[in-house]
């Protein structure tokens, strides 16, 4: 039950999406992956990817242009 953090602040397309996928591939069932970033499009496309992958979006927060997406593996 690890808590994995992915920091992609300042990164642009396609890095946040790709780094999220890389982290998810390495995670085990029961782990939580938290992605923090600033690229606006990624905030929308990461939830789309989770839907396609059949993974659970635990929550999204956003504050002053920095978003945080929590994923249940």
């Amino acid at each position: 039950m690890a808590y994995i953090k992915v920091d992609v602040r300042g990164e642009t397309c396609p890095v946040p999406l790709v780094e999220t996928r890389k982290a998810l591939r390495k995670a085990s069932p029961g782990d939580t992956v938290e992605v923090v970033g600033t690229h606006p499009a990624s905030r929308k496309e990461i939830p789309m990817a989770l839907k396609a992958l059949g993974l659970k979006l635990v929550g999204i927060q956003e504050e002053e242009g920095v978003w945080k997406i929590k994923i249940g593996v």
Partner: protein, 139 residues
């Protein structure tokens, strides 16, 4: 049908190689499979040391345009082609090198980055990939 993207990478232009790799990596990240078929000028980018050497497809201006775009890309923190290619492989992407191009251009396997290439093939290899793909593009 598999949820898969197959791209013919025909152009060796820097901006088009970016497009191909970004779409391919996006596909893999969103749970699809992805195959890249490198042919003609695209295959030149898989020669050792040549990945970043492509011209800009427009406004290259003897390298000045490319220099300007690269500067802006660095400012925007755009990933290098090398990183995109490594990510593509890490996420399970497949690379096919066109054998006819190798013959025409006198490229030998040892000239290419063989560690990245999964298969050496011809049109049949592309068709086999494309016929089971939901997305196929020619770049």
């Amino acid at each position: 049908m598999t949820d898969k993207t197959t791209i013919v990478v025909h152009s060796g232009d820097m901006d088009k190689i970016y497009s191909a790799l970004i779409i391919a990596n996006g596909s893999l990240s969103m749970g699809m499979e992805a195959s890249l078929y490198f042919t003609f000028w695209g295959l030149e980018r898989l020669i050792k040391g040549k990945l970043e050497k492509g011209a800009l497809s427009r406004m290259h201006m003897f390298g000045l345009g490319k220099w300007m775009i690269r500067r802006r890309m660095r400012a925007a923190n755009v990933a290098s082609l090398e990183k995109l290619l490594q990510d593509f492989k890490e996420l399970g992407g497949k690379i096919i090198a066109c054998e006819m191009t190798m013959q025409i251009m006198g490229i030998h396997r040892e000239d290419l980055r063989q560690d990245l290439i999964d298969e050496y093939g011809a049109v049949g290899a592309y068709i086999q990939e494309a016929r089971e793909s939901t997305i196929t593009l020619f770049i």
